[in-house]
């Protein structure tokens, strides 16, 4: 028998978390890594994984002490466990739903792809249908998954960091370079959303 209070804790955690819980928790995660003598930055793992696969034979950029970066791979591994636990044990009462605004539901209807799916408010899934192996064999799914990965991997290393390294770590340390990178993230994101989405969806 599971004690009643444990079930209550589980139900409490399972609610969708508001921004004022999620944001401060991310800052605490950054602090924990600083306290452990490390700096928060997930995309650095791609460089470590390339180096571990022998990319150092092709470019000096991958000749570094990647063995010392095992801790960051452990953060990524832990994130996978966290994703599994959240999805399997702390599912929201209304299911895997993204609680987006009415304005978002309405604007999705302007794109042909989403008009066919006809999402109503409160029914927008957390994960879009194109995150699937079936969709990968359509031009749209391939572009989103494979193309998105290529842009994210290339851009993150070119900019020297991703959302965690620049938007959280760098901005918290008041680094000007990180502010410029975040402006770049948004200019790229807005270009994709407003100029290219009407062609893709």
């Amino acid at each position: 028998m599971v004690p009643e209070f444990l079930i209550q804790i589980k139900d409490f955690i399972s609610q969708p978390w508001p921004w004022w819980v999620g944001g401060p928790m991310i800052a605490i995660i950054m602090f924990l890594l600083l306290w452990f003598g490390r700096e928060f930055g997930i995309s650095a793992n791609f460089r470590v994984m390339c180096a571990a696969d022998g990319a150092g034979d092709f470019a000096d950029f991958f000749k570094f002490d990647w063995q010392s970066q095992g801790w960051n791979l452990m953060v990524a591994l832990g994130a996978m466990f966290g994703g599994y636990i959240a999805a399997h044990y702390f599912m929201s009462p209304d299911g895997a739903v993204a609680h987006v605004s009415a304005a978002t539901v309405e604007s999705l209807q302007k794109l042909e792809y989403f008009r066919e799916l006809n999402y109503q408010e409160g029914q927008v899934p957390l994960i879009p249908p194109f995150y699937s192996w079936e969709a990968l064999f359509t031009w749209r799914g391939l572009l989103i998954i494979a193309g998105g990965g290529l842009l994210v991997g290339f851009g993150a290393r070119y900019a020297g960091g991703c959302t965690s390294g620049h938007a959280i770590s760098g901005m918290s340390a008041l680094q000007l370079g990180s502010l410029i990178a975040v402006i770049g993230f948004f200019l790229g994101g807005l270009t994709m959303t407003y100029l290219l989405f009407p062609l893709i969806f």
Partner: protein
């Protein structure tokens, strides 16, 4: 034991981003349409508290668990790499709706197709390593 604390931090990170819906393509779509405060609230409150934490660390000269003073690596004083690299990253972030953290989180929650995203992200990183000397920084 030394590495297990990093797994626990990662685990917490995964649950936080999943439960606050920051892993959702639709939340990123909403953010780039300025249709909700949610994502801005997450990012801005993390930065606000983060600035306070960093200032206290610098002011009190706090030491890490390993006994060394916590330091912050200054970023290069340049614009092109951050703006151009950031722009390319932003295109991919909006398109796929995930950045590297959420990619690992969703891979763990069962969306195995994201192994393709992980592979092409590694390929992108590799291409950057090859082309690095020809790119403006």
């Amino acid at each position: 034991m030394k590495l297990s604390k990093f797994i626990l931090v990662g685990l917490l990170f995964g649950i936080v981003l999943y439960k606050s819906e920051a892993v959702s393509w639709f939340r990123i779509y909403e953010m780039f349409h300025f249709q909700s405060f949610h994502m801005y609230g997450i990012i801005c409150s993390a930065i606000a508290l983060g600035i306070g934490i960093v200032q206290i660390i610098k002011w009190r000269h706090l030491k890490s668990l390993e006994g060394t003073e916590i330091t912050f690596n200054p970023k290069d004083k340049t614009v092109p790499r951050y703006l151009i690299g950031g722009f390319i990253f932003g295109l991919g972030w909006a398109l796929a709706g995930i950045c590297p953290g959420p990619m690992f989180i969703l891979l763990g929650s069962g969306y195995t197709v994201l192994i393709v995203f992980l592979s092409t992200a590694m390929l992108g990183t590799f291409l950057y390593g090859l082309l690095r000397k020809y790119l403006p920084h």
